[in-house]
Amino acid sequence: YALQGSRWRTKNLTYKISKYPTGLNKQEVEKEIANAFSVWTGETDLTFTRKTGHENVHIDIRFEVGEHGDGDPFDGPGGTLAHAYFPVYGGDAHFDDSERWTIRSYRGTNLFQVAAHEFGHSLGLSHSDVKSALMAPFYRGYDPHFTLDQDDVSAIQALYGTKTKSSVPRGSRPPPPAEQDPELCKDPKIDAMFNTKDGEIIAFKGKHYWKLTDDGVASGYPRRISSTWKELPSNIDAAFTYRNGKTYFFKGTQYWRYINTTMDGDYPKEISDGFTGIPDNIDAATVWTGNGKIYFYKGTKFWRFDPASKPPVRNSYPKLIQNWEGIPNHINAAVPYKGYTYFFQDNAYYRFNDRLFKVDDANPAFPRSTAYWWFGCKSANKGTIGNDR
């Protein structure tokens, strides 16, 4: 997923349908539009209230043809179906009324799906490169079994948080400021890093773990691994959360599976049973942003694991890590984050460019200091770390 950079400061939003499509009943349109907003309320505390009359609203919805006053004209049937503005630009959503908008039909263009997508933009989401995500840019046809992809859930929750069970007090608190942790600043080498099902990023080191923010470490950390993931040992080798929403932890010859923080079955099990073809005592594992497959790293080699294939590890593996241009051997951790895959070794990390299939060009260049860029250690080196690799 990708976040445009702006979001609404309030979670209670209003909308109005200022101009209806010509080919549909108004009440049916109102119902579909409400359903499209409901897609996003299901995963967050966002609320959407329809207004009528001349009230100002957050999201104004119009069905228009051709040039309609915003300098971004529609193009007739097909092509562009709709567009919407990010919160910083007003949040309005426009739909091309030359399309044949339909409801619960394989004919024409499904209003609910396109509207739900556009409202994602109105809320601050850019397009996703996950094909199955709602926020992917292409219309793939009517899906009677539509559900949000995990990618979409992660995206909207990154902006507006998860859905809470109890009512939220009036006025949202700002997120707590990022902190720096003395242990991590002194020795930033980690055991493992992974994303949770809810899109949070966790670093494991020894007996402890930290939740990370965009700028450093969340307050209230470190905590003991065993206090959150019951029966999970310390000094974990590797971890990742797969697209099934389950988190896998690896240590020695064994692995554990959790759904969030609850063990999902009878664990530990042997890696040789659950991940045939993958060695024991791995260095790192991740789901690679380039193709969504699981990659394991150990020493100078890596393995690709595809649960959908038989066998899940092809005969051509292992291959050399040097195929990942710029990534060193003997890494400690790997994690996908905001569309990139990051590799960590000792006190440094590398950002991998999936398209060029090499370490990304950036300023400062990689490797960079994990302590400064990931753990918010202000006294750490901000530039490129040494040339010893």
Binding site: Q4, G5, D72, T80, E118, P137, F138, G339
Partner: protein, 87 residues
Amino acid sequence: AAPTDLVVSDTTAANYLAQYGYLPPINPEKGAFLSGDKLTAAIEEFQAFAGLNITGELNEETAELMATPRCGVKDKVGPAADGRSKR
């Protein structure tokens, strides 16, 4: 469904790629020259984003996807356009 045997000219592709953020806006008045390398790089970026084989060529699957109905918002927008994370 997109028509088969689709042929997309370089100009059409360039306009598409500019519209969705893979190329800078093309000014028809100035008739700016777009190098083959830049077009190829933009096609590669589009193919990578869309999950196609990255060839840099306007092959059939790329042309088909360019003809698929879609959202009008750019694919590459805002500070995320050249890297989602400062990290």
